[in-house]
Symmetry: C2
Subunit: 140 residues, 2 copies
């Protein structure tokens, strides 16, 4: 297992004048070890099953931090609920979401990436991040 992200995490904490705690680390660890898209409650529930107690307050505070330092990605769908996913070592990708089942499938197109860069540049901007979600149904 590649644990090099731990040092990066410690550095981020130092930069923010924060301490390395079990709660913070557990959340990071959960996300880096699990592919998938989790809302705050799911993360807390999972950790609870493993005898690690984290409050919502701490979870949200930690998730904000992880997003800020690029350890994870936040996505908010139309239901207004934030979902988080590992971003470390994960190749960049976007999401296809099945309207019927809620299943999330990842996709990535270098062509699209290039075109959107060009579009932004054209208008005098550079892309900091982007959201690209396809809401789909199975072809019957």
């Amino acid at each position: 297992m590649n644990n090099s992200y731990i040092n990066g995490f410690k550095e981020a904490l130092k930069k923010e004048n924060l301490k390395f705690t079990n709660q913070r680390f557990s959340i990071l660890q959960f996300l880096t070890n699990n592919d998938g898209h989790y809302d705050c409650d799911s993360i807390i529930d999972y950790l609870k099953k493993n005898k690690i107690k984290v409050s919502k307050a701490t979870a949200y505070r930690t998730l904000d931090l992880l997003v800020k330092y690029d350890f994870c990605r936040k996505m908010v769908l139309d239901d207004g609920i934030a979902r988080y996913e590992n971003k470390l070592d994960a190749t960049h990708h976007d999401h296809m979401i099945c309207i019927d089942t809620g299943k999330i499938i990842e996709f990535m197109s270098p062509e699209i990436e290039k075109i959107q860069d060009d579009i932004a540049k054209d208008k005098g901007y550079k892309i900091i991040k982007h959201v690209h979600q396809l809401f789909v149904k199975k072809i019957s």
Copy 2:
């Protein structure tokens, strides 16, 4: 001015067994006459300035309806706040959002549209709707 959307609106209302009321119509009218992306409160504030009183309850109920019948589009950013925009007669487009100023610029790329259709088809799905947002900064 093209007011043909009024009939479409009346038909939608009939289909839902709903009545044509001033509040509902005012919201539709505001969105069709104004390009832009408005949250619920902004819409209510604007209408209030024009002496039209609409409650939040009614506004949200109406906006849901307008989305359902494709009169407008709902978008939720990471802040969790829903924004609505006119969809009628508007050529399809996506959004570039300036991180610093909040300015929203529209864009549209037929190439991207085609590629994403192909990606979905490839996995056995068809696209019902999509969200494509570029978060950008001005090139300095």
